[in-house]
Subunit: 193 residues, 2 copies
DNA sequence: ATAATAAAACTAACATCGTTAGTTTTACTT
DNA sequence: AAGTAAAACTAACGATGTTAGTTTTATTAT
C-alpha cells in the first residue's frame, strides 16, 4: 500500500472520533487500522501499545475537560463560579460520555505523566475555591469532595442508576451542588475562628 | 473426566473468590474452568454466558453491600445513622474493591432483575433518610446525592486520584459526609415551611 | 541521476479470549 | 440391565492485542 502521510496525532484523533461516535466498547485497534486503510500491525509503527493510545486519548479528554471548566468559570466568583463549573463538568460527562470513560480507565497510579495530567482537572476547581477564605488543607479536602460529587453523579446517571424514580435528575444534581456550597460557606466560618 | 458435583452456586462462588484475590482484570472463563478442573466449554453446561455470570456476581455484591449497610445503621438515627452508613459503604469499597467494581459493570438499564437489585442499594439509604422530616421527593433527590458522594469518592480514591496531595483521605471523606448532613438539615428546614 | 537508508507499509503467525457444535462419558431411573 | 439426560470432552471459529520478519516507499547523500 502506498505510504500516506499518517501522523501520530491524526491516528489519535481518528481513534477519538471512533470512540465518540461508536462507543468505547466497540473500539479496537483492528477497526482503527481499517478506518485508516492500514493493517493492524502497521499501527505499531506509530504507537507502542494500545495502552499508550488510551493514555494519549486520556490526555486529550483531560485537556478538553479542563478547557470547558476554565471557560465556564471565567469572570465568575464564589457560588456563581461553583455552579458554573459544576454545570460545565456535568454537561461534559453527559455530552461526551465515551470520552469521559477513557479518563476513568487511566491508571493514575503508575504513569507519572498521567499523574501530572490529573492536576489539570484539579486546577480549575482550586481556582474556584481560592475565592473562599479557606486554609490550604481545607481546599485540598473540599476539592476532593467537589470532584467526588460531580464524578459520582455522572457515573451513576450514565449507569442508569437514576432511572428507578421519575424525579428530575438535574434537580438532584443542583441539590448536590447546593449542598457543596453550604459546606464551603460553613468551612469558611470555621476557618475564621 | 469423572463427573463431580459441580453446583452453579459453587461455580459462582469460585469466580467471586478468584476475582477478589486476583482481580477482575485477570479473571477469565478459562481460568475459572481450570480452577474447577474443567475445560472452558464445559462451563456452558452451568451458565449461559459470561454476562450471566457477571450478573450473578453482581447480585452477590449488591446483597453483601446491603447487608453491611443494614447492620451499620441498626439502632441508629439521623446523623449518627448517616455517618455509620457512609462509613460502612466506604469500608466495603476499600476492602473489597474488585467485587465493588463488578457492581459498576452491571448494565442497570437493560436487565430488569438488576434494575430491581438496585433497590437493594437504595433501601438502606432511604431508611436513614426517613429519620428526617422530608418530603418523598426530597428523599429521592437526597438519596441520589448521598450515593453520588460515596460512590464518587471511592472510585477516585481507588483510581489513585487522591495521591497527589498528602492530605488525609479519610478526613476528606468525613468532610464530604458532614456536608451531606448539613444539606439534610437544611432541607429539613425548607420542608417545614 | 543513482545509491543508500530509514520509515512505514505488508504478510504471517501466536496466544488469549468468549463461544458453539458435535461427541463421549457418567450417573441415575426405569 | 437398558435407557436417558446431564455433564464432561474435543475441535473449532472469529475476534482481540501483539511480535517477527519482509517488502515497499520516500527521502537523503553521493
Amino acid at each position: 500500500m502506498a505510504r500516506q502521510g499518517l501522523t501520530r496525532a491524526y491516528i489519535i484523533q481518528t481513534a477519538i472520533d471512533m470512540i465518540e461516535s461508536e462507543g468505547l466498547h466497540s473500539f479496537s485497534l483492528r477497526e482503527l487500522a481499517c478506518r485508516l486503510h492500514i493493517k493492524a500491525a502497521s499501527l505499531y509503527n506509530h504507537i507502542q501499545s494500545s495502552d499508550e493510545l488510551y493514555t494519549e486519548i486520556g490526555y486529550y479528554a483531560i485537556s478538553e475537560l479542563k478547557k470547558v471548566q476554565l471557560s465556564a468559570i471565567a469572570g465568575k466568583e464564589r457560588s456563581e463560579a461553583v455552579e458554573a463549573l459544576s454545570d460545565a463538568y456535568y454537561r461534559f460527562g453527559k455530552e461526551r460520555p465515551e470520552i469521559y470513560k477513557v479518563i476513568l480507565s487511566l491508571p493514575m497510579v503508575k504513569n507519572d505523566a498521567i499523574h501530572k495530567a490529573g492536576f489539570d482537572i484539579v486546577e480549575p476547581i482550586m481556582t474556584v475555591l481560592s475565592g473562599y477564605r479557606l486554609t490550604e488543607e481545607q481546599k485540598m479536602h473540599l476539592q476532593r469532595v467537589f470532584r467526588s460529587i460531580m464524578h459520582g453523579f455522572i457515573l451513576q446517571e450514565e449507569a442508569g442508576c437514576f432511572r428507578q424514580y421519575s424525579v428530575d435528575v438535574e434537580e438532584s444534581y443542583r441539590m448536590a451542588v447546593r449542598g457543596f456550597i453550604l459546606l464551603l460557606e460553613n468551612s469558611e466560618k470555621e476557618a475564621e475562628i
